[in-house]
């Protein structure tokens, strides 16, 4: 399954998983397994998500009202629980993304001061 060595994988920062889940659900509803797969695939297996840890995170998001869970049928006609982004969740995704980008830019700036040529 995993194609990378453990040494190359990064532990998720606190709270980042929430953001990833919200992002994954942005295009449309998905069930738990699909969410885990998508996150793994899109991070090219760099981010290490113990699949189980997805569930507390999902419930945390339901409690905050950012996503909701509905009963549904999956592609191969099996009953499954589908998670979908709520309007509130969509706004939150926007806020979190902006915050994250700001943070990433700031960290990048700190790490590469030389290029700015200030000395």
């Amino acid at each position: 399954m995993s194609t990378k060595d453990d040494a190359e994988r990064i532990e998720l920062l606190q709270g980042t998983l929430d953001l990833l889940i919200l992002r994954t659900l942005a295009p449309g509803p998905a069930h738990g397994h699909a969410i885990a797969k998508t996150i793994e695939r899109q991070s090219e297996d760099v981010l290490q998500v113990e699949q189980g840890s997805l569930y507390p995170a999902l419930h945390r998001l339901i409690k905050r009202g950012w996503i909701s869970a509905d009963e549904g049928t999956s592609e191969n006609n099996r009953r499954a629980k589908f998670y979908r982004l709520t309007a509130k969740g969509r706004r939150q995704l926007h806020v979190e993304t902006t915050k994250w980008e700001k943070l990433a830019r700031a960290i990048a700036n700190v790490l590469k001061p030389a290029q700015e040529g200030s000395v």
């Binding site: 113990e50 699949q51 189980g52 569930y55 507390p56 945390r60 409690k63 499954a80 629980k81």
Partner: protein, 847 residues
């Protein structure tokens, strides 16, 4: 809560689903099923742990902790059943009595009338100082209705004990003549038929109860012909079941029964009848504008110089709500305050008990703190405990309140409007909840505070030695002194009411109201001309006197407006006096047992022009001069022939009014007060009814009761107040007794060793007793001094509830203090004797 359940409902299923998919993928990638499954599990992580973590997301920590605290509180309370029982019981009494009083307040003062726009209804009255309530001549009321512009409607009503007869049966009903805009003001919509219009005659609207009871719910009753007091009438409608007559009823003390029939007012009645008037203000009109308009109208109707019989009456206009509640408001606020004091005492008492327990629980708490419980958490535990106690007491209190309300409605005076409607509704429940919460927090704070300040180190060490110490005793002493002060305040209040009550019921020995039967009867003016009236009266007197066993019988009538300006003919005509006129037959004086002080009685041969005075009137008009033979102008000149001793024979709660008695020969009066005196009254009422039926069967007597009963009814509201305040005071007294006993006992227990040492060193028993008693007495004195100060400033609020006794009567204050002082002595003497009987050796070894 529901979201949580739904989200967690299929968590298992969801996870199983996830694992299956992962396994399936692994198989597709070429693993064996077993390998695929364990790889999936490995990748997923610890299923049990993850489920637990997911559930934890939904958990609210305070709910779980609260449950823990509650369970713990229950355990603690169960472990001390004696304490718990006392606390719950006293709380139940405190909360129950308060809830009951509040439910009365709620019903009497807070619930609005069930009529449309109750906030616009105004009371239009003319105060008659002699009868102490408002009366308006119905002819005036009709003029007010047509000649004013401030109102959307003006309604008048007057009570009438009527007899309704159908073709089959006849029965008496409590009725009112409902005139003017009565129906639009009450907003009543009949369940059957229609209301009668203001100009209609001979109409009757009956209540649902009467419809059920007397007409068997026969629908044909609407439109059917009946006779009312002998006059032909038609039943036009039946009121719905929930309609109630809620206007002020001054007659309610004598007629508490609900109004069951509403009659059109015959013009003959309107001429000489007085009643009550209610108006509905137009929205844009203020009450002061309405008063001004009515005053100028009244001046034009009755020019001031004309010697109208009601010229002494003064207009009295106020919002109907104020008029309805004015009588009960002061008494209820005093009772509410007394209830609050009692609950405060209950709380203080429990706080004191909890403090005693806190001493022994210090060690337990210290251990909990030592092994890492937060102080807030520990404090909350204590608060949860006291609140659990409070709510147990509150629940028991609600039960008690239900019983008390039933009792109050039964013994309560009919003069408190809507008392019978008192019940536990949502507002009362909210009130109970609030006082329960307040009490719980109140008595939880003291032990909480003391434990909060607990020094861990000392507590653990001391606990190891097993001494309670004088822990919290200082606070307890202050609490108990406060309790005594509150008890004294309640005792003084109850004492004042008791003294008033005794004053009211005191009477001269010759006055024997239990041997006097009183009743009323009313001649319908439409059927009884003056000559017929006279014949009826003579026949009635003759028949009453002929009943075996009757010693005396008489009739009196009191005009509605009795306060003609009267003054001695030979003095200043501007010095007039208010007086009560009473036309009476000679037998009336004998039946009531009145005493002649001077002069002679009235006789049957006396005609208009001679009068008797009571002593109050004689004193008021003539001072210390001899009134016999003097002339009093009322304004017709009358010669005084005799003076009677003052006697309160109608109302016990009013002072004797100046009164004159005139010969019963000329008045056109229709309401007879009949008095019959017999040494043994059994059988007399039936005989009287029989004789009266023989004269005119359609005119039965009503309000038939002994004068003793009638007098007792006249002070039923005082009895009610005394009962309530008395039970408050009694409860307070018991609480104070328990409180001081508890503190002294506890302090003796805590000082056991000290006492042992003292006795070992040669202290005598009486020294020890003196020492302990001194402690109690010091506390008691502090409490009594504080209580006296509080009583002095608060009892004056009761002034309007008192009769014949001043709010600051030093005798009552002294008596209450003495009772409390004796109690304190007694309560501290007991533990003192026990302390003195300690064997020093045992006390010392016990350490």
């Amino acid at each position: 809560m529901r979201r949580r359940r739904r989200a967690l409902a299929d968590l298992d299923q969801d996870i199983r689903d996830h694992l299956e998919r992962e396994t399936q993928e692994n198989i597709e990638r070429g693993m064996s099923p077993g390998e695929a499954r364990s790889a999936a599990l490995r990748k997923f992580g610890n299923v049990g742990l993850i489920e637990e973590q997911t559930r934890a997301v939904w958990r609210r920590p305070w709910v779980d902790q609260l449950r823990q605290d509650l369970l713990f509180a229950f355990r603690i309370l169960r472990r001390a059943p004696g304490f718990t029982a006392i606390a719950v019981l006293t709380l139940a009494v405190g909360i129950g009595l308060n809830t009951a009083v509040f439910s009365v307040v709620n019903s009497v003062l807070l619930r609005p009338l069930e009529y449309p726009h109750p906030e616009r209804l105004v009371w239009l009255g003319e105060y008659d100082p002699a009868v102490h309530h408002d009366m308006v001549m119905l002819s005036d009321a009709a003029a007010w209705r047509t000649n004013t512009r401030s109102y959307n409607g003006v309604a008048s009503y007057s009570f009438q004990q009527a007899v309704i007869a159908t073709s089959r049966t006849a029965f008496p009903v409590a009725a009112v003549f409902a005139d003017g805009d009565f129906w639009s003001l009450t907003g009543a919509t009949p369940a059957l038929g229609r209301r009668f219009s203001p100009d209609e005659q001979h109409g009757v609207v009956i209540s649902w109860d009467l419809f059920q009871r007397q007409f068997g719910e026969d629908l044909h009753v609407v439109g059917s012909a009946v006779t009312v007091d002998g006059g032909a009438s038609t039943i036009t409608g039946v009121l719905p079941k929930n309609f109630r007559f809620q206007f002020p009823r001054w007659w309610i003390a004598r007629h508490p029964e609900p109004i069951e029939a509403y009659l059109t007012l015959p013009p003959a009645e309107a001429q000489h009848r007085a009643g009550q008037v209610v108006g509905s203000l137009k929205p844009e009109v203020s009450i002061s504008q309405a008063i001004a308009e009515l005053e100028s109208l009244q001046r034009s109707l009755h020019p001031p110089n004309a010697s109208q019989p009601n010229s002494r009456a003064t207009l009295h206009v106020e919002m109907l709500y104020d008029q309805l509640t004015s009588g009960a408001r002061r008494a209820l606020s005093v009772l509410l305050a007394a209830g609050g004091l009692l609950l405060l005492m209950v709380s203080v008492n429990i706080a004191s008990l909890l403090l005693a327990r806190a001493a022994s629980r210090r060690r337990e708490l210290a251990i909990r703190l030592a092994i890492g419980a937060g102080r807030f958490r520990a404090l909350r535990q204590i608060l949860v405990e006291s609140l659990t106690l409070a709510f147990a007491g509150g629940a028991a209190g609600l039960l008690l309140a239900r019983w008390t309300i039933l009792l109050l409605a039964r013994i309560g005076p009919a003069s408190i409007p809507r008392l019978a409607e008192a019940s536990i509704d949502l507002r009362v429940l909210a009130f109970t909840f609030c006082i329960t919460l307040a009490a719980g927090i109140l008595f939880g704070i003291a032990p909480g505070f003391v434990l909060w300040r607990t020094n861990l180190h000392d507590a653990l060490k001391e606990g190891a030695r097993g001494i309670g110490g004088l822990f919290g005793l200082r606070i307890r002493r202050v609490l108990v002194a406060g309790e005594l002060a509150l008890a004294l305040l309640l005792l003084t209040g109850a004492g004042l009411l008791l003294a008033s009550f005794l004053r009211m019921t005191a009477r001269p020995a010759a006055f024997t109201p239990e041997k006097i039967l009183t009743m009323k009867m009313r001649l319908p003016p439409a059927r009884y001309s003056r000559a017929m009236q006279q014949r009826y009266r003579d026949e009635l007197l003759r028949r009453l006197a002929s009943i075996p066993g009757v010693e005396a019988a008489g009739i009196s009538v009191q005009p509605m407006f009795c306060c003609a300006p009267a003054f001695p003919a030979d003095s200043d005509p501007n010095q007039t006096h208010l007086l009560h006129q009473n036309f009476a037959t000679p037998g009336y004086f004998r039946a009531l047992g009145m005493e002649l002080r001077k002069g002679r009685w009235l006789t049957d041969s006396d005609k208009d022009g001679v009068i008797l005075l009571n002593e109050s009137m004689a004193w008021e008009a003539f001072g210390s001069d001899d009134p016999i033979g003097r002339t009093l102008k009322t304004p017709q000149p009358k010669v005084v022939v005799g003076v009677l001793a003052d006697l309160r024979y109608t109302k016990l709660d009013a002072h004797v009014v100046p009164e004159i008695f005139l010969p019963f020969d000329q008045p056109m009066m229709f309401l007879f007060d009949i008095a019959v005196r017999a040494p043994n009254l059994s059988g007399i009422p039936a005989a009287v009814r029989r004789e009266m039926a023989a004269i005119d069967a359609s005119l039965p007597p009503y309000d038939v009761k002994t004068l003793q009963e009638a007098l007792a009814d006249s002070i039923s509201s005082q009895r009610f107040n005394l009962f309530l305040l008395g039970s408050f005071a009694l409860s307070a007294f018991v609480l104070a007794l328990v409180g001081i006993y508890g503190v002294v006992t506890y302090s003796v227990a805590a000082r056991m060793r000290e006492i042992g040492v003292r006795m070992a060193l040669g202290a005598q028993r009486r020294n020890v007793i003196g020492m302990v008693v001194r402690e109690g007495v010091t506390l008691g004195l502090a409490g009594i001094v504080a209580g006296l100060a509080a009583s002095y400033s608060f009892t004056r609020l009761m002034t309007s509830l008192l009769y014949g006794v001043k709010a600051s009567d030093p005798r009552i204050f002294a008596a209450a203090s003495a009772i409390l002082a004796v109690t304190v002595l007694f309560a501290s003497w007991w533990p003192a004797r026990r302390a003195a009987s300690i064997e020093p050796v045992i006390a010392l070894r016990d350490e």
